[in-house]
Symmetry: C2
């Protein structure tokens, strides 16, 4: 059969990583490869209770079609509870609900990118965003990071050199994959640059509330005076990813376009799941639940970093995240984390090789480790196994 | 602000119809405009019971990330229960779950269409599909219908005249908006034409199981020997639209591309909602539930057609659907259903003006009426109100 796919679809390939990750699903493998929240923290009993309430109160509406923008009470709660944590004063009108924040990423590419347009992003950046954007056939310009995230002078150079840049994509808090976080002055500067160069920023913020030390950083959008910043949030890491609930905050002009795109994409997100989330947050304090998550993830983070320091060869570097789910490991420049991964699988331990996070390739000497969904004894054992493999190369 | 959107986004406009339909939401309006299933038929109590079972059995998995392809037991049930009704023998491997069948439409455009490519569709066709496709900037070639749906000789002419046609889009059963249904010989012929001209058919089938007289027609895909037909199904009309669950059946080569597209679009559909649907269908007979829906919709259909015959001016024509949710009304050629709608709103009755269903415009003398979600007394009263307005023009 000679099927004539679209050009963009011809470019889509089953990710090599995805195939690799299937190997990590065997029960004997200690996998630091995933990005899953810890399921033992899901509030199962409370959700059961909430569900009964939802069905008794408005069960028929929960099963019927609803507005594309989302369930109104959920939009209000996102604005007043979640976005105020990110130092913003918004109303439900400033928010629409999406089917996870992955959908917000896909919509952003659809909204802003013609074929060949430039996306400016951190180097490295989130694999899932790169994949979603790639379907719209852009070029990626990667901006270097230091320990505090994207370097603003380098961003400004990229903006000057790429007048056809159409959006800046950034994860300012506990970035995926590096775990790095931008300090407040950089956030302010980035918002200024967006206004100066008249370019939208897609601020992807799935991890900001999972801060182990200190309080939640102000969103880049909180420094945005003209409406250039689009903020993407999600309940996947703070509540439950299986419900597929995220959100977009943007200026009215931009948000109304997202609504039309969403109408064509899936009409709306689940009426039922939106009501479960809204009712949960009306009845219980999500911040209290997030405190529990932070305590456990923070401990796992501390343990993993300590173990890497203790067991890894001395020359292996890693980031020191103070929130989120991931740390980023740098090997000696001549080493290939993808090839080493094959040996790791034999030792029943896994990570994600770093090169897939660089949209233009290269940089084979990095890997990403996740600490959120693995009990402490397995973190110790897994890092020891990794160390054993790495020792052969040092 | 001078925001540089993508070309496709510049073409997106808030639908005029959508604004009009907001007027129809006032409680005093009898609206035949929507396409909603009757909420009084939703199995609320059974879903409550099922939810408790799901949460007790695997609550953590129901709240966690799951596979992009969908929850395996649901894929199996779709293959063995729903697709066998459409005369097909499939397994779960042939099916992926989508966030409603609207998502299947959007993905199809993304998978097959470059800017300027031709989509061949019925004239008229489903508004939501036209909108989803339009974001990929195709051209539409409309093929005439008779009372039995798309005319196959006209389809063949369109295929000959448009070598850059990339897909055929069709709703063979109780078409939206006309309510027309293709007989089996046309389905077979359409499958043959797809193979001969090497072009995919997107078979959109939300209403096929809601047949009031006779048994479910074989899907076009059941006549497909080489794998040119993509079948889109949904639980929105037979179970509950609020759960946003649809599916795609296609050959392995095509289906694997849809999976990659879905991964970028929303990672997966709701883990919870998929488990609710699967467990419901393991425990209860969905066919039994569909029988109840058919009985009520069938009665409403009969009543609405009778009322139109009785009260409408004699020259007004309508289709005679034997399933689904919609009938299609044809006015005298010089009349404009959009303008007449303004008067209808004043009389507190509403329909959808037909011109939006023609992707290339024109055809102002049609409108669509829905009979599924309105009790019988309101159908009588609403058709009387419509008749009163129409009488002024005849």
């Amino acid at each position: 059969m000679d099927i004539r796919f679209s050009d963009r679809a011809n470019g889509l390939k089953a990710s090599a990583i995805r195939e690799l990750l299937k190997l990590t699903e065997m029960p004997e493998v200690i996998s630091f490869a995933g990005g899953l929240p810890a399921p033992e923290l899901f509030p199962v009993e409370r959700i059961k209770e909430i569900f009964s309430e939802v069905m008794d109160r408005d069960g028929r509406a929960a099963l019927q079609y609803g507005p594309t923008e989302g369930y109104r009470p959920l939009r209000e709660i996102i604005a007043t509870q979640r976005m105020s944590t990110a130092h913003m004063k918004l109303t439900g009108d400033d928010v629409i609900v999406t089917t996870g924040s992955q959908q917000g990423l896909e919509f952003s590419a659809k909204l802003f990118l013609n074929k060949g347009d430039v996306v400016i992003c951190e180097s490295p950046s989130y694999l899932g965003a790169i994949n979603a954007f790639q379907a719209y056939e852009p070029k990626f310009v990667e901006v270097s990071m230091d320990e505090h995230g994207m370097i603003m002078s380098e961003l400004e150079n990229a903006l000057k050199e790429n007048p056809n840049a159409k959006m800046i994509y950034t994860i300012p808090d506990f970035q995926n994959p590096t775990g790095k976080t931008m300090p407040d002055d950089r956030r302010k500067r980035m918002a200024e640059l967006a206004a100066e160069y008249k370019i939208p920023i897609i601020e992807d913020n799935p991890y900001g509330e999972l801060i182990f030390e200190g309080t939640v950083h102000p969103a880049i959008k909180s420094f945005d005076k003209e409406g250039w910043v689009v903020f993407l949030g999600t309940f996947s890491k703070t509540f439950a990813p299986g419900l597929r609930l995220g959100w977009i905050c943007a200026s009215p002009e931009i948000l109304s376009k997202y609504v039309i795109i969403k109408q064509g994409a899936d009409l709306q997100s689940s009426s039922l799941d939106q009501r479960i989330a809204a009712t949960f947050m009306q009845k219980y304090d999500l911040n209290e639940h997030i405190e529990k998550i932070k305590e456990i993830y923070g401990n796992r983070r501390t343990l993993m970093l300590e173990c890497m320091d203790k067991y890894f060869p001395a020359d292996v570097k890693h980031t020191n995240p103070y929130g989120g789910l991931f740390a980023w490991v740098e090997l000696r420049e001549d080493l290939d984390a993808g090839k080493i991964m094959e040996e790791c699988i034999k030792e029943n331990v896994a990570y994600v090789p770093g090169d897939a996070f660089f949209p233009n390739g290269g940089h084979k000497n990095f890997f990403r480790v996740n600490y959120s969904c693995m009990p402490e004894d397995k973190i110790v054992e897994g890092i020891k196994r990794l160390a054993k493999v790495l020792a052969k190369y040092y």
